[in-house]
């Protein structure tokens, strides 16, 4: 255990920055490269790093698989739900213009909402897939 102290301390320092960076990528996606998908992958990478360094059990204690699965499903519903909301407000499916008093704000809200959906799904899916592969025991030949 002791010989991995650098790894552990390093990871503990790095992970908050990775998660923070993911949020930056999410919210900066309007202005520079990035967006929900990239942010979701980076967010998931933070958790995967945690799992690799501290063990799968510890990671599952922080983020149980069921939560990851739920995230994956909810993200899809957020995205499609945004479309349904625009329908209810009288627009076409995914017509963000109707989401706010003027078109530009509506677009802003719409894009924010669907990017959040993408973030949640991608994060959930990536972590859950990692859990599925890492939790499988090696089969005997």
């Amino acid at each position: 255990m002791d010989d991995r102290v650098i790894l552990r301390v390093g990871a503990k320092i790095l992970i908050p920055f990775i998660l923070l960076f993911a949020l930056y990528v999410q919210f900066h996606g309007d202005f520079g490269p990035g967006g929900g998908f990239q942010a979701g992958v980076i967010f998931a990478a933070g958790f995967i790093l945690y799992a690799l360094v501290f063990g799968l059990g510890a990671a599952k204690a922080v983020l149980p698989p069921i939560v990851a699965h739920t995230c994956a499903a909810i993200g899809v519903m957020v995205y499609a739900g945004t479309g349904v909301v625009t329908l209810l407000l009288g627009g076409n499916f995914l017509d963000y213009n109707v989401l706010a008093h003027n078109a530009e704000h509506g677009q802003e809200w719409g894009i924010f909402s669907v990017e959040t959906g993408v973030l949640i799904t991608v994060f959930g899916v990536m972590v859950a897939i990692f859990y599925a592969f890492a939790g499988r025991r090696r089969s005997e030949p």
């Binding site: 490269p33 990239q38 992958v41 995205y79 499916f93 995914l94 959930g124 859950a128 990692f130």
Partner: protein, 201 residues
């Protein structure tokens, strides 16, 4: 300058792809494919596709490599057979490649601003997306608004991938023994090589 980098990157890509094909240690193959993705990301940056470069680096070099390594830990990492060239695949690939090259002969030359692809739909995105969506990054506005429905489909594709992976390897426990459906009832189990296997027509 950029042409030199461009040519060099493509050359590196070719070498890496060739190494992926030849290398029989699958751990090395996983790393090489990660390198391939990173080189691609660099190339995308050269080609002004920064969003794609970012994603390729995160997904191709990151997640994909982790997945392949995770799989190799479960299934072993040595490719058994020494690779020998096979005739039919080689023929198929050569024909495909030749057709592609033929197709490029009338393709608009690389990088010209007057290429038809840049004349029709894209100009409106470039001219109007700023005022129509208020988002400076055109890739984001096209991805999330103009072609937002594709992105919804894409979100669903990865959700589908999760459903598939969970169906296949969800539980830590091994699935109950797989049977040939015939064993169960003691109906004849002799299944000699079936005629017509793989379509002998």
């Amino acid at each position: 300058m950029s042409v030199v980098v461009d040519v060099a990157l493509l050359a590196f890509l070719a070498v890496t792809a060739f190494a992926v094909m030849k290398q029989r240690n699958l751990f090395a193959v996983a790393m090489l494919s990660g390198i391939y993705s990173l080189l691609c990301a660099a190339l995308y940056t050269m080609l002004d596709a920064v969003d794609v470069a970012f994603t390729e680096a995160a997904v191709g070099a990151g997640i994909s490599t982790v997945l392949v390594l995770g799989t190799l830990a479960l299934v072993g990492h040595e490719e058994k057979k020494p690779a020998r060239p096979k005739v039919l695949p080689l023929f198929v690939v050569l024909v495909t490649g030749a057709v592609m090259v033929y197709g490029t002969l009338d393709m608009p030359p690389f990088g010209r601003a007057d290429n038809p692809a840049h004349q029709h739909v894209a100009p409106r995105y470039i001219e109007k997306s700023g005022e129509e969506t208020g988002v400076p990054n055109i890739v984001t506005s096209v991805l999330a608004s103009y072609r937002g429905y594709d992105t919804m489909g894409e979100t669903n594709v990865i959700f589908t991938a999760l459903v598939g992976v969970l169906l296949l390897i969800a539980t830590g426990e091994r699935r109950r023994r797989l049977w040939s459906a015939d064993e169960r009832n003691g109906v004849v189990t002799e299944e000699s090589s079936e005629p017509g296997e793989d379509g002998d027509g």
